[in-house]
């Protein structure tokens, strides 16, 4: 009999198991796959994601093999902004969410999952969790309407059965635990992006670059093995045209969004892997907990990749859920109350506002005139540029940046006028031309 069984050993599951085990609880961590291995993701970690790793004492190990940076370069319709996430906003973020602002770092990194997830799983094992790979859970044991354990099979085909006081579903977007419980999805947002990416060696982009033009976007970030994760995305309505020629359209999209980046990739880049892609990124929420079970990570909620926050949010869930479960296991709080505090933070006003923000962005509509003017007005206003970046990453609340008096002040403080940016010439026609699918 375990205190907790955690199903799935990646960004959500391993830290949950690790934190519970560090709290002295008996934890079983079950994972279907063999790690280290990859999972579909472009694996970018914003500074709050890195801060979690630091708070857990794992950052150093990640940084031994992974490049990190602080600068974020954004180019929207030719309007360039560079900034970084301020430490103060990070501290406030952690204080408000976890009641403790310690251990924050301002760097970001792109960590291959076959690097990161292995480190996370090993940390769970070192903390004392019983970690078993190649174990697929295929049944929940339910007694008197309460989940009391799991059954499954090992890779070799042997069946197993284990029981615990609580079962944590950390098994991703296609969560078995959620499906077995028959949990409905809430707040689904079908409009999302299609994303294709690959890995190039041979050049150094110097931190995160995010480019946006019309309904397309591109990102490049240095990652492990001296490679650069290079990604393009657009509205899912264009996906079927795009995939009729992935390699050709990838280059076409890159050239459209950022001719310079495209040129660099073409002339200096060595493609090291195949193109990966997905169009199945509709956002949703699921119920967070019930009798004997809790969900964390993609199992409880998914958002489009366009803001690159899924892994960091899986970390957040792990810390929140482990704190709640730990406080119950330690006899400090009844389970229901403990999990309600998890829910309050996960289904808060700020969380809802960010969900809307990310889902709206995922529709990939051309940037509006007012949005571009705001971005132009941010140039030269470092404090607000940094806050904009922090807001985009869900570090500062959407409601603080997108607040009338703040936007007025940004406008008033603007140093540049629209004649400095070509996009404002013939904006209406350009904007209309962006609606045409360039791949069909």
């Amino acid at each position: 009999m375990f205190d907790a069984i955690v199903v799935g050993a990646r960004c959500a599951g391993s830290p949950t198991a690790m934190l519970l085990a560090r709290g002295g609880h008996r934890v079983l961590l079950l994972e279907r796959a063999q790690l280290p291995s990859d999972v579909l993701s472009t694996h970018f970690l914003w500074p709050h994601g890195m801060s979690y790793l630091n708070r857990w004492g794992l950052l150093e190990e990640v940084l031994r093999t992974t490049p990190s940076h602080t600068a974020v370069h954004l180019v929207n319709e030719g309007i360039a902004l560079t900034g970084e996430v301020p430490e103060k906003l990070l501290r406030t973020h952690f204080e408000e969410l976890h009641g403790d602002g310690g251990g924050v770092v301002t760097t970001h990194a792109s960590v291959r999952r076959r690097v990161l997830d292995g480190i996370l799983m090993d940390a769970a094992a070192s903390a004392g969790a019983d970690v078993r790979q190649g174990c697929t859970v295929d049944e929940l044991i339910v007694e008197e309407d309460r989940v009391v354990g799991v059954r499954g099979r090992t890779r070799a085909g042997t069946r197993f059965e284990e029981r615990a006081r609580i079962v944590v579903g950390a098994d991703g977007r296609n969560s078995f635990v959620a499906r077995a419980l028959g949990l409905a999805k809430f707040d689904e947002r079908p409009r999302c992006t299609f994303a294709y990416w690959t890995y190039y060696s041979g050049f150094a982009p110097g931190g995160l670059q995010l480019h946006r033009r019309g309904r397309l976007a591109a990102a490049v970030v240095p990652t492990n093995f001296d490679q650069n994760m290079t990604l393009v995305w657009g509205p899912s309505e264009w996906a079927s045209a795009f995939r009729s020629d992935v390699a050709g359209h990838f280059q076409q999209a890159l050239s459209f969004v950022s001719p310079d980046l495209a040129e660099q990739v073409r002339s200096e880049g060595q493609q090291e892997e195949r193109f990966y892609g997905t169009l199945d990124q509709a956002a949703y929420l699921r119920p967070l907990y019930g009798p004997g079970w809790v969900l964390v990570g993609d199992a409880e909620s998914f958002k489009d990749q366009c803001t690159a926050t899924g892994m960091t949010h899986a970390f957040r869930d792990a810390e929140l859920a482990a704190a709640a479960i730990g406080s119950w296991l330690g006899g400090r709080e009844p389970l229901d109350r403990a999990l309600r505090s998890y829910e309050e933070r996960r289904r808060s006003q700020n969380a809802a506002a960010y969900y809307d923000y990310a889902c709206t962005l995922a529709e990939m509509r051309p940037l509006r005139h007012d949005e571009l003017q705001l971005l132009a007005a941010l140039r030269g206003n470092q404090e607000e540029t940094d806050r904009y970046i922090a807001t985009h990453a869900d570090i500062a609340p959407v409601s603080e940046f997108f607040q009338a008096s703040n936007l007025f002040l940004i406008n008033d403080a603007a140093r540049e006028t629209s004649d400095q940016h070509a996009i404002f010439d013939g904006f209406a026609e350009t904007s209309r031309s962006y609606l045409r699918n360039p791949f069909s």
């Binding site: 579909l40 195949r274 892609g277 997905t278 929420l285 607040q403 009338a404 904007s431």
Partner: protein, 556 residues
């Protein structure tokens, strides 16, 4: 160029699996698993399909396999091993095709053609619920008139879907119950939390009598700026009455509360001065600040330590220019108020001047109607106080109160809307004067007691339904919803269910913190308030179901 040949994309491979398995299934003719096909040609074809399926799956990336964990990849990959003349025959493949494939097919199909992408939402409703007014704040193009049209299209979509909360019309006087029509002309009757008439003085006989008398004595028109000949002797009486209420002797009237705020800030602040303003202070003060100076610093709502820090920093750099610190008394969107003693002390310590806007609290709360000032024993101790008559005093108009005649004369001359706008009408002045008398009388105390009984009943009942009221008990009860879509939908339900409530969203509140602003009146009975709370709670719940929204309302 890749340094080694790269494998095919996962999508290509999944499509191959789907095509191959579909073809094999057709070949089987949907035959039940009873017996294997006897025809050797068919058996060979099936074995070929099995191999093709298995090989394609073997080439699928680890990334994809670890993501789409509901697909039995390992089982599929094993099919690659069928030999051409395997004596066992492709039985296991046949069994898979007939038993398991339908389910697996759905899962695979979802990877390449997600069901979620076949969208069926009503485009009008989606458009109406998705956007915010700010999306249209800076339209493109040089034709000032034509570029308003995109916004209008959105308003029309909001109107068609009955989610446009603005511009409703009253069919009769707005009491505790009101009859209104929305801007499509549809009528509704309901418990009214939509009117800012906190002491219900609009219906008070003495107030109406005063209006009638003034109408008879002076007519409806003031016919001039107060600097010329727009004021009557009622105006002077009113200035004195207000001076007693806020404890500052020198009062100037403005035609609206908005212009009192805007006029005060722009009159006193020079372009090189500083304005340090609460982030949530009223729009008339924010806009006044912007119009007066580039040196505007916003501080976190109610945070006096932050004010102290800003004032310290400004004074270290600038000892020559003035600093105006600006706050509301009762904040109308959050129903809270600052610690005025501490704020005034911080201001004095840095040679800064404090301006407090008491539009919502003066008359409606505090001992003798003295508002937040009186509740904190600060009556007469604030540098500058301004207010509006439009909430408790049953009329348009606003005022600025100061300690010296010099400030008053200066604001009259340089506060644009005082000099350059027509004075309050005699009827309005008389109404406010009578309202001020009632506010300060024993009847005023009784009205406030009734008002607070209704407020307590409403807040208690909403809390009992699990809803979150912000702030402290005051005539404004902000009910936090958060998500704009949820608030707009709940508002649509409420309209037909007998509660009139105003929904506020961006730009009044920050994005993502929409709320209902319920404005309580002395005429509301506690039972009425409880009934309304039940209706509101049911509407929010139904809206949540309608949108299948999982978000609750905690603030962080």
């Amino acid at each position: 160029m890749p340094s080694t040949p790269v494998p095919r994309t996962d999508e290509e491979l999944v499509r191959i699996v789907l095509e191959t398995a579909d073809r094999a299934l057709k070949e089987l003719g949907g035959r039940p698993a009873a017996g294997p096909p006897a025809d050797p040609g068919t058996r060979r074809n099936l074995a070929g399909s099995a191999r093709e399926t298995g090989r394609a799956v073997q080439e699928v990336s680890e990334m994809m396999k670890n993501w789409a964990t509901h697909v039995p990849w390992d089982e599929l990959a094993d099919f690659a091993d069928f030999g051409a003349d395997d004596p066992a025959g492709p039985e296991s493949f046949t069994r898979f095709l007939t038993d398991r494939y339908p389910e697996v097919r759905t899962a695979l199909e979802d990877l390449v053609e997600p069901a979620a992408l076949r969208i069926t939402a009503d485009p009008d409703e989606e458009y109406a619920l998705d956007k915010q007014a700010y999306d249209f704040y800076r339209p493109a193009g040089r034709d000032l008139l034509r570029r308003t049209e995109e916004f209008h299209d959105w308003v029309e979509a909001r109107r068609r879907t009955e989610t446009w909360q603005y511009s409703r019309l009253l069919e009769a006087a707005p009491g505790s119950v009101a009859e209104i029509s929305n801007d499509l002309g549809r009528r509704a009757r309901g418990i009214n939390f939509n009117s800012q008439d906190y002491l219900s003085l609009n219906a008070h006989p003495a107030v109406r009598e005063a209006a009638a008398r003034a109408l008879g004595d002076f007519g409806p028109h003031s016919a001039g700026s107060p600097m010329v000949l727009g004021n009557t002797r009622l105006s002077n009486e009113l200035e004195e009455a207000l001076g007693r209420l806020v404890g500052l002797d020198h009062v100037t009237l403005f035609p609206t509360g908005w212009s009192a705020g805007f006029g005060t800030v722009t009159a006193l602040v020079r372009p090189e001065d500083w304005v340090v303003i609460d982030r949530l202070a009223h729009s008339c003060l924010q806009q006044g600040a912007r119009a007066a100076s580039k040196n505007v610093v916003r501080y976190e709502h109610l945070n006096i330590e932050e004010v102290r820090r800003h004032l310290g920093e400004i004074r270290r750099r600038d000892s020559r220019n003035g600093i105006l610190v600006v706050t509301d008394g009762l904040f109308s969107v959050d129903a809270d108020w600052p610690d005025l003693l501490a704020l005034q002390e911080v201001c004095h310590a840095h040679d800064a001047t404090l301006l407090v806007d008491v539009a919502h609290d003066l008359g409606s709360m505090g001992p003798g109607g003295s508002g937040v000032l009186g509740m904190q024993q600060m009556t007469g101790k604030i540098d500058l106080v301004m207010g509006a008559f439009s909430k408790t005093f049953a009329s348009n108009g606003g005022f600025l109160a100061s300690r010296t005649p010099a400030v008053k004369q200066y604001a009259k001359m340089f506060g644009g809307p005082h000099f350059f706008s027509n004075a309050l009408s005699p009827v309005q002045t008389a109404v406010v004067l009578e309202a001020a008398r009632i506010v300060g009388s024993a009847e005023g105390d009784r009205l406030r007691a009734r008002l607070f009984a209704a407020i307590d009943a409403l807040r208690g009942a909403l809390g009992g339904h699990g809803l979150e009221c912000l702030g402290s008990p005051s005539p404004i009860v902000p009910l936090l919803i958060g998500n704009e879509k949820l608030a707009r939908t709940a508002n649509r339900f409420l309209f037909d269910r007998g509660v009139l409530a105003f929904m506020v969203e961006f730009p009044v509140t920050p994005s993502g913190s929409a709320r209902f602003r319920l404005q309580v009146q002395a005429a509301h009975g506690p039972d009425e308030a409880r009934e309304a709370a039940a209706i509101i709670s049911a509407s929010v719940e139904d809206a949540r179901q309608y949108l299948s929204s999982a978000f609750r309302m905690g603030t962080r």
